[in-house]
């Protein structure tokens, strides 16, 4: 797959504050989640990709072309900033059409695109109200609208879901997935891990300006062989189930939950364990309430890599 966004040992700092150091990355079409603690460099990276900042070392290019001051590139990029900052005295409609006109679209097309964008984020009813009077959720949605109104190929979203209620979040996640289906490239940064997991399994972990890991979450999970996989089984008689595994060499550690109903197993070979677990449960006739692997989500991978 050709890479849409590519950086080669990209470094950026302002004053003595480190933003990014030596980041080489390739981002293909589809949704890529950008993840990292506060001040890890996510916003810095996004500002470099959208040409708001000049790299100190290295290059950042979109579709092969360097980004800094390359305005012809910006008509194919949509950016949704993190800051809750607007031209407060204008209405949603004026804000959207004003920015759309900067692309040089003829007036008729500006109106069409604005209407379509407003429908997508369902703000059509509030288009004539001043942004000053918008609620936090509506402000977030109008900000998203201005990022996609000109139908860009590459969409950069910095914390797009902050301030939205669960229903708003679901709509936006669905929307981002629709854009993936249209073959666009979407880079999303978010702090709330479940949101990123709901959108994509392809993530880039950034920490203290460096790339910790990049790729499919599960692939990364399996990659980290050093760290054994945890599986928790909740049932009426966990000790009966455990008894069947004592002799199994691939089991590293077993522990029992304080509630006396859960068995937590750490093993290198998840595959073997799961198949044997199924037989054990059926033979022992033990009612199983729940089987879960607590560390197969982003939070665990993150904690592990960040060295918790």
């Amino acid at each position: 797959m050709t890479s849409e966004i590519a950086t080669r040992n990209l470094s950026k700092w302002y004053g003595n504050v480190l933003g990014l150091s030596d980041v080489s990355l390739e981002i293909e079409a589809g949704i890529t989640g950008l993840l990292g603690p506060n001040g890890a460099g996510k916003s810095t990276f996004m500002k470099l990709v959208t040409g708001q900042m000049k790299p100190n070392i290295g290059t950042v290019s979109v579709r092969g072309a360097a980004v800094w001051n390359n305005t012809s590139l910006f008509s194919t990029i949509g950016f949704c900033p993190e800051a809750d900052a607007f031209y407060e005295d204008v209405t949603g409609w004026e804000f959207l059409t004003g920015l759309l006109r900067l692309y040089g679209f003829p007036d008729r097309e500006v109106r069409e695109r604005a209407e379509r964008a407003l429908d997508i984020v369902d703000l059509a009813a509030d288009k004539d109200r001043k942004i000053k009077g918008y609620s936090r959720g509506m402000r977030q949605r109008i900000k998203f609208a201005q990022a996609i109104a000109h139908d860009p190929e590459i969409i950069i979203l910095d914390e797009p879901l902050s301030g939205l209620d669960p229903l708003g979040k679901r709509k936006l996640i669905k929307l981002v997935k629709d854009y993936r289906a249209e073959g666009k490239t979407i880079l999303v940064s978010s702090h709330v891990l479940p949101e990123i997991e709901a959108m994509t399994s392809r993530i880039v972990l950034v920490h203290q300006g460096k790339i910790l890991a990049q790729g499919d979450i599960h692939y990364i999970r399996d990659l980290i062989e050093a760290h054994p996989h945890m599986i928790s089984v909740t049932c009426a008689d966990p000790r009966a189930v455990a008894a069947r595994f004592v002799a199994d060499r691939s089991i590293l550690k077993m522990s029992f939950g304080t509630d006396g109903r859960t068995l937590v197993v750490e093993t290198h070979n998840r595959d073997a364990f799961f198949s044997r677990l199924q037989e054990a449960v059926l033979e022992a006739g033990v009612e199983v309430d729940e089987i879960r692997s607590p560390d197969d989500n982003l939070q665990a991978v993150f904690d592990y890599l960040v060295g918790k």
Partner: protein, 303 residues
């Protein structure tokens, strides 16, 4: 009983924000939920006395809203939703400043400010200017100023928004630790349902200015039919065919979670038998309680 309100009504001009809310909230951590514009922030602001309700009255910690507002504010810590700080100040001065304004003597406020800043994880950055604080650090700073005068009641409006995973964990641990000491009530309004589920023992769901649901977490979440969620290795077509053959209704979400609606007579072991018959390996299995999200959608009615 920390908060009692009767028939609260309030509207911003033509938009009614609260339409007859009556609640009696006890100790521990209480979750306040509701879609945008359901009236959560308005409710908090009325309790704090920023807004006077058109109808209805209420008592916070036994003090009457409106008349004994100063007494309420002495023992309440408020963490607002939107960004607020004072430019040109560092974190220690900022926190001790608001401690003093709450009535703490200056030296005590300074001592307590350092302590509280460590609680919220701003220990190292406490001498830096607030202008250089990131959104997440400002979020923790708001928490610090709400805790500095050691209130009996904490109002937290979106405490974990724009916090990174580590930050969120620290703030959640801090709130859990506070609540566990049983001598401080916390009212948490948040959109991140996972947080409410970990923190709160009871929940109030507001929708369109009215109380849509209220009660302890367990009671609200118990559901009647048995719904199981299963993930198998591979695509699981064989497994699904076996289940349908046994009369279960099956559908699959986009991230490959198979939802199995088991008829009353069937047992959960049938699912395991179906899997082994189909030769598929179950890797995730749970009896689904209505997750707060479904409850939220169901109650708020927009699903």
């Amino acid at each position: 009983m920390s908060i009692e309100v009767e028939g609260l009504c309030f509207s911003y001009g033509s938009i009614t924000a609260l339409d007859g809310v009556s609640l009696r909230l006890g100790e521990g951590a209480i979750g306040l939920l509701g879609p945008n514009g359901a009236g959560k922030s308005t409710f908090l602001r009325i309790l704090l006395g920023f807004l006077t309700p058109e109808k209805g009255r209420g008592r916070v910690l036994g003090y009457e809203i409106g008349r004994e507002q100063a007494l309420i504010r002495r023992s309440v810590g408020y963490m607002p939703e939107d960004d607020c700080f004072i430019a040109g100040m560092d974190a220690v001065t900022f926190t001790s400043y608001f401690g003093e304004l709450s009535g703490m003597p200056r030296q005590e406020a300074m001592k307590r400010a350092h302590e509280v800043l460590f609680y919220v994880g701003l220990g190292e950055a406490r001498y830096r200017l607030l202008d250089q604080y990131s959104a997440g650090m400002k979020q923790r700073l708001k928490m610090a100023q709400a805790l500095v005068h050691d209130p009996q009641l904490l109002f937290l409006d979106e405490p974990t928004s724009n916090l990174d995973p580590q930050g969120r964990k620290e703030v959640l641990d801090l709130i859990e630790d506070i609540v566990s000491k049983k001598d401080m009530t916390v009212l948490v309004s948040s959109h991140i349902l996972a947080d409410i589920e970990t923190l709160c023992s009871s929940v109030v769901i507001l929708s369109k200015g009215r109380v849509a649901a209220e009660g302890r977490m367990e009671d609200l979440r118990a559901i009647h039919y048995s719904l199981y969620e299963v993930k198998v290795k591979g695509d699981g077509t064989g497994f699904k065919r076996e289940l349908e053959a046994m009369g279960c209704r099956v559908d699959e979400t986009e991230d490959r979670v198979i939802k199995v609606y088991m008829p009353p007579e069937g047992g959960r072991m049938d699912i395991f038998r179906a899997a082994s018959r189909a030769g598929d390996q179950i890797r995730f299995f749970t009896k689904s309680q209505t997750s707060l999200e479904d409850l939220f959608a169901q109650v708020a009615g927009e699903e």
